[in-house]
Symmetry: C2
Subunit: 203 residues, 2 copies
DNA sequence: GTCTATAAAGCGATAGAC
DNA sequence: GTCTATCGCTTTATAGAC
């Protein structure tokens, strides 16, 4: 791919810094609670300059959502290249998502009545990526059920939503905030409750 | 307890209607997205009248949170009176919470950076009730682990947070919104993923 | 493109008449 | 206690100078 002129590269770097700030602020406070003033202050430029790069607050958030989905697709590609079972791939992708969340870098899913939601539903790059991610995960879920590793009585739809929800669950953050457990310990526990539940496994 | 004068009873009924509106709006949009104008319009009185009953928006929300905790305590009392195992009591309480959530009547947990959080931390009735609920659930969790019904390797703290989080999980709502499943079916599925996980039970 | 300054709208909360 | 009207503040977005 062409990198464009030097000027374009500088622009890219600047916009990438903006998206990083938006991503972190979205993870921290969610879309409605995040203010454009905060984003501008965090990036270190004036608010009016922000609007030269992105047309609206919704466009800012959409860019962050697209980037996290792109990174998710990269992780899916890495897992696909490993010679492990489908359920193991699902577990490792979930582990990655939980780590991102604990690092404070997982932008919050748009709540159902958000103005962001309307914007995203009309944003093709986002929708296409979301569909790609869902399709790939859906394949692995069906495959893992066929392997006998995931519960066959659960609809794949339910499993998919459950995995998405765990990536935004407040539980890891609350557990981490107690300060008594390492990130890896928290991730292992939440992974365990997600895949194996809280009940005892029948022996 | 004294019921007070007729005038006081009318006041109680009025305030109960306010709290019901707040409860539903909190469940629908969360604290920050809920506006006092909406509450007033929903109750059918002027905004200034609202402020004669409750000192602030935070006080409105706190009243709703207290009421849901009171109802939770009632449910805990009912379950305690049944002659069933601790894990079964926990499952039924969770089932009740999921039904309330699907009915659109489970006020959303205060996010960590909310102005509501500060108010609630200084609100003794709320804190006391929350502690009562947590203590009772904590006892049952330890008991269920002792019975061999809940995974002993999980800290009770993790199990407690997990149950609280499931009461506010977006998954049931998303599943219900597809319109293809009954509420009972959705609740059964989510209960299954919560207690038994998504993985196959080893035979 | 970046800035300062400001417009336009929505919000929580209150004043004051009845 | 209820109402109408409004204050004071925050927020998104833009105008216009440089």
């Amino acid at each position: 791919m062409a990198r464009g002129s030097f000027r374009d590269q500088v622009l890219r770097v600047r916009e990438d810094a903006i998206v990083s700030s938006v991503n972190r602020l979205l993870a921290e406070k969610g879309f409605e609670q995040m203010t454009v003033d905060e984003v501008a202050a965090d990036v270190g430029i004036a608010k009016a300059s922000l609007y030269k790069h992105f047309a609206s607050k919704e466009a800012l958030a959409a860019a962050a959502m697209v980037r996290v989905l792109e990174r998710t697709m990269e992780v899916l590609g890495q897992q696909a290249a490993r010679g492990v079972s489908a359920v193991e791939r699902l577990r490792e992708v979930t582990r990655w998502a939980l780590r991102v969340q604990l690092a404070g870098e997982m932008p919050i899913l748009p709540s159902q009545n958000s103005s962001l939601r309307a914007e995203l539903l009309g944003h093709k790059p986002y929708l296409e990526l979301l569909m790609q991610v869902s399709d790939r995960l859906g394949e692995w879920i069906v495959q893992a059920q066929g392997d006998g590793d995931l519960d066959r009585s659960l609809p794949p739809e339910l499993v998919l939503y459950t995995l998405f929800a765990r990536a935004c669950d407040p539980v890891p953050g609350v557990l981490k905030s107690s300060g008594r457990h390492s990130d890896d310990q928290v991730v292992d526990w939440v992974l365990s409750t997600c895949f194996s539940g809280i009940a005892t496994r029948p022996s």
